[in-house]
Amino acid sequence: MKRTKIPLAPYLFLLPNMVVFSVFIIVPAGYNFYLSLFDTSPFRPAEFIGLGNFLYLLQKDDLFRRALENLVIFVAGDVGGMLVGSVIIGLLLNQKVKLRGFFRSAFFYPVLLSPVVVALVWQWILNNQFGALNALLTTLGMKGTPWLLVPHWSRFWSIFVHLWATLGFYSLIVLAGLQSIPAELYEAALVDGADRKQQFLYITFPLLLPTLMTVLVLSTIRGFEIFDHVYILTGGGPGTATLMMVQYIYRAAFQMDQFGLAASASFLLFVIIFLLTVVQYALGKRREAI
């Protein structure tokens, strides 16, 4: 029986990308895992402790568990908001209205801003004394709130600010997906007497699913990696209400000098994200058209 020849071409096309990956991501990641097996200190050589760091994190470290909790809450709100928001905005932007170009720029604009800028702007708006939001509320006769000093508000605003800065990105992806749905399908449905709601449920939504899968996978991964926006906005506070995993790692490595522990935490984070992505990918594959 003749075997089909394995094509050489795809490997060559992949090569440049894979070389950069390997050298700048995979090799360092491997070193990171290696580091996680040691108990490190700036003053003595590292001691090999195998799974010691992992056991400590999972059993004894209250901050690690707190960070994980916070992260799950954040991702749930963030991804949920991203899916709903990007569909709504995508649908709105797909409408034939005047100034369509302007509106598209408007929603994408915050995406252009660096996380530092975004966080500073909103920190300023939410400031208890000088902030625009409380000023607005007091002129309307309501009381201002120390937004970033109340745990559940702090969590809310972390998600809100991140959505504000990122929805435009995913909305564009959804928009592209919406526009690739052939117009003839809608025309045919109209002929059959379908109303807008039916059009959405039976044409738009099913054909949009691959795009939504993209949004789901990407935003979940990015959600778990969140750091810049939240760290600059709330510092992880009040207390530890918005302490996220990457901040935990950063603190362990650079404020507590515990490199081995930090490496273990980052490895655990990687495992969580990896498992989630595999599950999502497997579910998505069943729905993929091609």
Binding site: Y11, V19, S22, P42, G239, M256, D257
Partner: protein
């Protein structure tokens, strides 16, 4: 088929590893005898020190045509990370201004062999000097400026409220808090009192109670001692009573300063340190009257020393970097630097004589006096090798107690447990 994949994967990984390790470190090229040797000098700035140090560097470059000092500034928040990653890759600068020299000991240069004046290291204050001294007596640099924690008072607000400032120098924190609260209520400003969100500031606060983090021999912990416990309980209580605002201490895990609040006349009593004097002088100007007051005295004087160090890294310019260090550490340079930047000097001769500051002379000398009154425990704490991470841990746990996530007792328990881990 599977074997082919396997082989390809191994080849790919092998290729990457080979690329990485075969490239190797860059060979150092010996500088030609005629061109000036470059000395890279990394600095971080608190503001007013920038023109002072730039002036000194320019003078040095002029007076030493065979050396070219390349001076650059990096943000403080990233300093340690930056230096660590660069040093680990053999790319460290030749000299750097740092706050925690111990982090870099393995990369630092012993300056003794290249010193023109062998007595140089002894000309500086003993306690801080210990922090740049290696286990076998190696000298890695010098303390370059000292800082001292201490409170500032918005005098105008006191006057406006018709509240008198304490007559005596020996005031407790409780008394200050009561006064600040009264002034706040009578003037309507948003903040009565606060300290920067820093374990360092907190320790200074605790010193007044006779509390602190480490035992005198540096080997044990005092976080759960009754004195420290009382101080921490009070600190949390002031927050719960609304005297100290949540805005500063309830934040997450970073440093938060309260400069903006004080500078804009919104804060009555601000526990910070002498490094603020120059900035306050420039930004507050005549907007309101303010002054530095001594730390509280409960069982003893409070406060914490601190300071920045100049350290020399192993590199391509060992003799040149030592020349720069001796220049910057000379009495003349240090007098110029301290008075221009409004810092406290580290040379024994200057601390005795005192320094005449061009502005705010009284405030600066309040701090110098405070330095002289500091209990030894303050020095032990600040210069302890693990002070940084332990202070961070205490700070973060107290924040949790302030927001009510945990009790003060639990905070002390957790902080001490972590500190014990870090001491191993």
């Amino acid at each position: 088929m599977k074997r082919t994949i396997g082989i390809l994967t191994v080849l790919l990984l092998g290729l990457s590893m080979a690329t990485v390790f075969a490239a190797g470190k860059q060979e150092a090229k010996p500088a030609p005898a005629t061109a000036p040797t470059t000395v890279r000098f990394v600095w971080f700035t608190d503001g007013p020190d920038k023109p002072a140090i730039e002036g000194l560097v320019a003078k040095f470059n002029q007076g030493n045509p065979d050396i070219k000092v390349e001076f650059s500034i990096v943000p403080f928040a990233e300093l340690n990370q930056l230096l660590t990653t660069q040093a680990a890759a053999g790319q460290a600068p030749d000299m750097a201004r740092v706050t925690e020299p111990y982090r870099f000991f393995q990369y630092l240069l012993d300056i003794r062999p290249n010193l023109k004046n062998a007595n140089f290291p002894k000309e500086f204050m003993d306690e801080p000097m210990k922090l740049v001294t290696g286990a076998n007596g190696e000298i890695y640099g010098i303390p370059h400026d000292l800082t001292m924690n201490g409170p500032f008072v918005n005098v105008s607000l006191f006057k406006k409220a018709g509240v008198a400032l304490p007559a005596s120098d020996k005031v407790t924190w409780e008394e200050w808090m009561k006064l600040a609260k009264e002034v706040k209520e009578k003037t309507g400003v948003p903040f009565a009192a606060t300290a920067d969100r820093s374990g360092h500031r907190l320790d200074g606060f605790l010193q007044s109670y006779g509390g602190g983090f480490f035992t005198e021999d540096g080997k044990g912990l005092r976080i759960s001692s009754p004195e420290t416990r009382k101080g921490l309980e009070d600190f949390v209580r002031y927050h719960k009573e609304g005297i100290m605002p949540l805005d500063i201490w309830a934040g997450g895990t970073g440093y938060v300063g309260a400069n903006q609040q004080f500078v804009n006349g919104l804060l009555v009593f601000y526990i910070s340190g002498n490094w603020q004097v120059a900035q306050f002088n420039e930004t507050i100007k005549d907007k309101f009257e303010w002054k530095a007051v001594p730390n509280a005295f409960i069982k003893q004087w409070g406060g914490m020393p601190g300071g920045k160090f100049l350290v020399a890294f192993k590199g391509k310019a060992p003799t040149q970097v030592v020349r720069l260090m001796e220049y910057l550490g000379s009495a003349d340079s240090m007098t110029e630097y301290a008075s221009k930047a409004m810092f406290l000097p580290t040379r024994k001769d200057l601390l005795q004589k005192g320094v005449q500051y061009p502005v705010r002379n009284e405030d600066m000398n309040t701090f110098i006096k405070g330095l002289a009154n500091l209990p030894k425990s303050a020095f032990v704490d600040n210069y302890h090798l693990r002070f940084g991470p332990v202070a961070n841990e205490v700070r973060d746990r107290i924040t949790q107690a302030i927001t009510g996530e945990i009790t003060v007792d639990k905070a002390i328990e957790l902080a001490e447990a972590k500190a014990r881990e870090l001491l191993k």
